[in-house]
């Protein structure tokens, strides 16, 4: 185990170094978008991988937060940090309302209720004037952070701000999972009845997890709106909810690093496979099929197995 810890620390330091150097190698806006999706996938995975709740409507938090951010910053002239704060709170509030209803059901029914809510939110976004419908809420100004202290006109400067926000999000997810709260969540995932008989209010824990996940998804959505300077309907569609599931699956459910890797893989595919023109979707589809057939635990899960060289660990064994 000590061995694993050393390895993990080396990996963490290496990842941090890569993250700091990345904008000098790759296109910063692409990196920022991918980081935002990585955080979104982590938020989703907090719910699926650690609380065992499969949400099929997570786009509503991601997309609504983007709209909240756009509206507060563009129309009301708020500072970006307040815009983000408002978006996170807004997403959390939405999470509280939808979560309170959704957690009353389990499994596929839970997924379908979240899907239903997100479809309603989508409908709301198509109808509500402030979203500007199909055109999107465009041209959100990039304002300096902390009242002018941090200038973000330059993409690389923006990148470090985004990196800081996203790392904060990752840290939050890490803290949640490794807190006593996270342990109880895992216990509920393994055996809800037993957790209840031990005196835990399972529903309350699930609701809290749902709200936290919604809030972090909101953090990701608003940060993305800040980077790209617009919020569009794409972010609230069922397709986006599906995409985040794919990110988590491709990277590896129930691992901390999995969703990050999955998000980067999928966003990279969308951006760099785009040159394949009409074949983009076919290639993506084929990759999903191959992943299910050959790399079922996701990229991180499979690598984790290779490192540990154990024959057959239990499902969703948390690593990283």
């Amino acid at each position: 185990m000590t061995n694993n810890h050393t390895l993990r620390n080396i990996l963490l330091v290496a990842a941090l170094a890569v993250a700091l150097a990345a904008p000098w190698v790759a296109y910063p806006v692409f990196l920022m978008t991918a980081l935002c999706f990585a955080l979104f996938a982590c938020a989703f995975n907090l719910l699926l991988g650690f609380a065992g709740l499969m949400s099929f409507g997570h786009a509503m938090f991601f997309g609504m937060a983007a709209y909240f951010f756009g509206h507060t910053v563009k129309e009301w002239g708020w500072r970006p940090e307040f815009g983000i704060l408002a978006s996170v709170l807004g997403a959390a509030a939405l999470g509280a309302v939808t979560g309170a209803l959704a957690i009353r059901r389990q499994g596929i029914y839970f997924a379908m209720i979240t899907l239903a809510f997100s479809q309603m939110i989508y409908f709301f976004c198509v109808q509500a004037p402030f979203t500007h419908g199909e055109d999107g809420l465009q041209g959100i100004p990039r304002r300096a952070f902390l009242g002018g202290l941090i200038e973000v006109k330059d993409d690389r400067a923006m990148y470090y701000v985004v990196l800081a926000i996203v790392l904060f999000g990752f840290a939050a997810v890490y803290r949640i999972i490794h807190s006593p709260f996270g342990q109880v969540l895992k216990a509920i995932r393994e055996n809800e009845q037993r957790a209840i008989s031990l005196g835990y209010n399972a529903n309350l824990y699930k609701l809290l997890a749902f709200i936290l996940s919604a809030a972090i998804a909101g953090l990701a959505g608003s940060t993305k709106a800040m980077v790209l300077q617009f919020a569009t309907l794409t972010d609230v569609t069922a397709a986006m909810s599906g995409e985040v599931v794919l990110m988590a699956l491709v990277g590896g459910i129930g691992t901390l690093a999995g969703p990050v890797v999955g998000a980067f893989v999928i966003i990279t595919m969308q951006n760099y496979l785009a040159a394949a023109g009409e074949w983009v979707l076919v290639i993506q589809g084929a990759i999903f099929v191959v992943i299910v057939l050959a790399f079922r635990k996701g990229i991180v899960g499979e690598i984790g197995d290779l490192v540990r060289r154990r024959p057959k660990p239990g499902p969703a064994g948390s690593s990283a």
């Binding site: 596929i108 979707l281 299910v292």
Partner: protein, 293 residues
């Protein structure tokens, strides 16, 4: 003239009728999806693509092989069903012991591949399929195209035949039992893997049949089934998973409700099903016709 909510009652009657016709498609599609989900525990995200395949198969048969609609109606679902059988044998059967998330990922990926290939070959704007029985009858309150009348009757017959096959025959009994407890059914000497393959083929065939029926009404295009799965799965959930009758009744019922929405609040016509699903799940968790196990 007497009016109800601003709509003449006769016009409303016409709207209900076209709603019922649309419901016929939901019923056929949800039936296939429900059967597959019950047996394989997989939400078949390829269902929409298979619906499209049915329409395309019929169109190809017509244009390339000169096979008329009525023969295509039988042949196309068989061909597509067979394709489903191959998919199941080659790919899906590797997933049964896993979480249904993997089924989602796999069938979703397959749908992308199938739709992408057809898109590449035949483009996005769709192919024309001539109406095999043009013309119609003026019912006074509306003009009813003969083909639509045929669709609703055909769908009813197909749904009832499927219901009968599942609820009243020996093979259907195996199927229902295997949905509940496949291990035990297999331990009784029934070749459950083959039953699963057959079930998948049946579900896919039903989707393709709906596709063939849709071909003369809608354009035969690669993306015609793209967003159908979510709606149809919602129908299955509202009806109660595992309930065959539930799928049929709910399919027709939601067609009606959607039809009414198209009159009173058309913008919401693609959202209304999800609203109903949320309400139903919160009030009656197992769906309208589902049994809590």
């Amino acid at each position: 003239m007497f009016e109800l909510l601003g709509i003449a009652p006769q016009a409303l009657f016409g709207q209900l009728l076209v709603g019922l016709i649309n419901g016929a498609f939901y019923a056929m599609l949800s039936l296939g999806l429900a059967v597959i989900f019950g047996m394989l525990n997989v939400i078949n995200f390829t269902h929409g693509a298979q619906y499209m395949l049915g329409a395309f198969a019929a169109w190809l048969m017509l244009t390339v092989l000169n096979i008329p609609f009525w023969i295509g109606l039988v042949l196309a679902p068989l061909v597509v069903g067979l394709f489903g059988v191959v998919l199941e044998r080659l790919l899906l059967k590797r997933l049964y012991h896993l979480d249904h998330l993997y089924g989602f990922l796999m069938t979703f990926g397959l749908a992308l591949v199938i739709e992408g290939v057809f898109q590449w070959k035949w483009g996005s704007s769709g192919q024309p399929y001539p109406n095999p029985i043009p013309g119609g009858t003026n019912l006074g309150f509306m003009f009813l195209p003969t083909y639509r009348a045929f669709v609703v009757v055909a769908a009813l017959v197909i749904c009832l035949a499927t219901w009968f096959a599942i609820e009243r025959t020996r093979l259907g009994g195996y199927l229902r039992a295997a949905t509940e407890n496949p291990t035990l059914v297999r331990a009784f000497g029934i070749n459950v893997p083959r039953l699963i393959t057959l079930t998948y083929g049946l579900g896919v065939g039903l989707a393709a049949l709906a596709g063939v029926l849709a071909a003369p009404i809608y354009q035969v295009s690669p993306l015609m089934g793209q967003n159908l799965v979510l709606v149809v799965f919602a129908v299955v959930v509202i009806g109660g998973m595992g309930s065959i009758l539930g799928s049929i009744v709910t399919g027709f019922g939601l067609g009606l409700i959607e039809g009414l929405t198209k009159v009173f609040y058309p913008q919401a016509s693609s959202t209304v099903i999800f609203v109903i699903m949320a309400i139903v799940l919160l009030i009656k968790p197992a769906g309208l016709f589902g049994r809590t196990r």
